[in-house]
């Protein structure tokens, strides 16, 4: 007997299952390949990459918070050339889809990085991070004004040789408006949520815990915000939505799917349990069997 169908299609790309990694929490998969078969993932979404190597922020870069964590890594990455040579080469024989996350400080940065990656066969999709709260120039500025978001999306989509996912920031007043701006700019899909800007103070030392002062909040604490925003965004656009934010088990992932997500990403939960994404895949399958549902696609946006 055939099991339930977990496959989904997002912007013309077919995924064996809807579960992927969230950018920045999984490197390029090498580290966690020691723990489990990363080929079982629906997709690997790699750490943000820019045209040239970035140093990132001083330490401390991470802090724990109740049911969550703050990070201000500052997008440290080896630059796109090394990324292609080493990371993409590592992923060559991993049997899953590869989504490359791109960051930049200026429109030109984004464009040249996108252009460079467009010709790489191993890249299935690009995810554009216009929502990182941890670098001073660029990044989030592109994701907080609908007009600016429309422009950058438009310019990227014109030259991208791959389907483009625009990754939205939750640090906005109206997420629906941002989702529509990305769709109007030509995005093939949107993903959300990136981290919520937060701050932690060490009262004994009377200092900021993070060297960057502020950091991005992630983990179970932000899950209800993610469900709400995915729901609102999914109702605002016709393009597919990839949901993330605090997913730690199949229940959390199913909430995002029922709210309208075609795919879900597991982020910080990997730090608590390296094979969380596998647990989520198995849990979704069990749920489908238990409810006699043939395909996970029937659940997308089913609560409306």
């Amino acid at each position: 007997m055939n099991g339930p169908d977990l496959s989904v299609e997002i912007a013309g790309v077919r995924f064996e299952n809807p579960v992927m990694t969230a950018s920045g929490t999984f490197g390029s998969g090498r580290e966690y390949s020691e723990f489990f078969d990363i080929g079982r993932l629906g997709a690997i979404v790699t750490k943000g990459v820019s045209t040239v190597p970035w140093e990132g922020n001083p330490v401390p870069r991470v802090a724990e918070t109740p049911s969550g964590m703050l990070n201000a890594i500052g997008l440290q990455n080896p630059g796109v050339e090394t990324f292609i040579r080493e990371d993409l080469a590592f992923l060559k024989d991993v049997g899953t889809k590869v989504i490359v996350n791109v960051c930049g400080k200026s429109t030109e940065d984004y464009l040249s990085c996108v252009e460079r990656l467009g010709s790489e066969e191993r890249v299935d999709m690009l995810e554009i991070n216009v929502s990182c709260p941890n670098v001073k120039e660029g990044a989030i500025a592109f994701g907080q004004d609908p007009k600016v978001l429309f422009d950058i999306t438009d310019r990227i989509c014109r030259i991208a040789g791959k389907p483009v996912i625009m990754k939205l920031s939750p640090n906005v007043t109206d997420i629906a408006e941002m989702a529509r701006a990305a769709e109007a700019g030509g995005a093939d899909a949107i993903s959300l949520i990136n981290t919520l800007t937060g701050m932690k103070i060490d009262v004994e030392k009377r200092t900021f815990v993070l060297a960057n002062r502020t950091g991005g909040l992630s983990g179970p604490a932000i899950h209800p915000v993610a469900v709400r925003m995915v729901y609102q965004a999914a109702h605002a656009v016709r393009i597919p939505v990839i949901g993330m934010g605090g997913v730690a088990d199949a229940q959390d992932a199913l909430e995002l799917i029922l709210a309208g997500a075609s795919g879900v990403a597991v982020g910080s939960a990997v730090f608590n349990r390296p094979d969380t994404a596998i647990q989520v895949i198995d849990g979704i399958r069990d749920y489908l069997i238990r409810h006699g549902i043939g395909s996970v696609r029937e659940l997308i946006g089913a609560v409306c």
Binding site: W54, G56, E64, N71, P78, G79, T82, D275
Partner: protein, 267 residues
């Protein structure tokens, strides 16, 4: 070395001082046990569900036949307090074995001083045991006051010199004061291994650099993944990382033990 996340049973728990605990953890039946290098650590998950990150704790001892590791930790905050509240028989979620330890081969045949300050003391015990018969070891252990811990274990493992900040036991001052006192008497080390607070590591680094002594430092940094994926735990280095192209290294995977001349202990 393969890394795993597994449940380990607390088979022994002992309070060593007001805020220092020793626990012995037993590997599960299925666990594949590989050798552990001194300086390596594990990520211990506090039992409370609202804490999601592992706490890095160094291996203080490893008994392969008995399938046991020993950890000695200070209750520094909520997570370590939760861990200390567990009882014998309880299970702990552990990620490991993590990091790169001390390069034992480079220490072979050398007169080696192990310097431990405060909560940097525990990993030196396993190192002292592993070096026995390989190097001529003296342990310099620095405590704040008379509330010492593990001293008997150190004395059983090697020559041991104690320093206390208040002078209540042994040399008054820190481990470097004790080392320098011995150096003046003519016992000068050919190699140093140090673990402890940052000011101590900076002083040891300077001491070693000025005298051109082989020196390994074990660094601490806040971690999220513990396995090299998140880039949360970097330290400054002298030269650029081969992959990342910037002068930074990951404490969790490139370290926590670094050769002194490779790292810059400032930002």
């Amino acid at each position: 070395m393969a890394k795993t996340q597994s449940l380990m049973a607390i088979v022994e728990k002992e309070k060593l001082t007001e805020d220092i605990y020793r626990i012995k953890l037993k590997y599960g039946r299925e666990a594949k046990i590989e050798d552990i290098i001194p300086g390596q650590f594990v990520g211990v998950y506090p039992p409370q569900k609202d804490k999601i990150l592992p706490r890095p704790v160094s291996i203080c001892d490893f008994e392969k036949e008995e399938r046991l590791i020993t950890l000695v930790f200070r209750t520094a905050g909520c997570g370590t307090r939760d861990i200390a509240s567990l009882r014998e028989g309880d299970e702990l979620k552990v990620l490991g074995i993590l990091g790169n330890g001390y390069d034992i081969e480079q220490l072979r045949g050398k007169k080696t001083a192990l310097l431990g300050g405060g909560i940097g003391i525990p990993p030196m015990l396993y190192l002292a045991k592993k070096l026995s018969g390989i190097a001529d070891v003296t342990c310099y252990m620095g405590y704040r006051d008379s509330h010492t811990f593990l001293l008997d274990d150190f004395k059983a493992a090697s020559k041991t010199v104690t320093a206390t900040e208040d002078g209540s036991i042994g040399v008054k001052g820190n481990v470097l004061d004790a080392l320098q006192a011995d150096a003046q008497k003519g016992t000068f080390p050919e190699a140093l291994c140090a673990c402890g607070p940052l000011p101590m590591l900076r002083a040891v680094q300077r001491f070693a650099a000025e005298r051109d002594i082989l020196c390994f430092l074990s660094l601490e940094e806040r971690m999220a993944c513990g396995v090299g994926a998140c880039l949360g735990c970097v330290c400054r280095t002298v030269s650029e990382d081969e992959h990342f192209g910037v002068p930074l290294a990951r404490v969790c995977t490139d370290g926590p033990v670094f050769e002194q001349s490779q790292v810059v202990l400032e930002w």
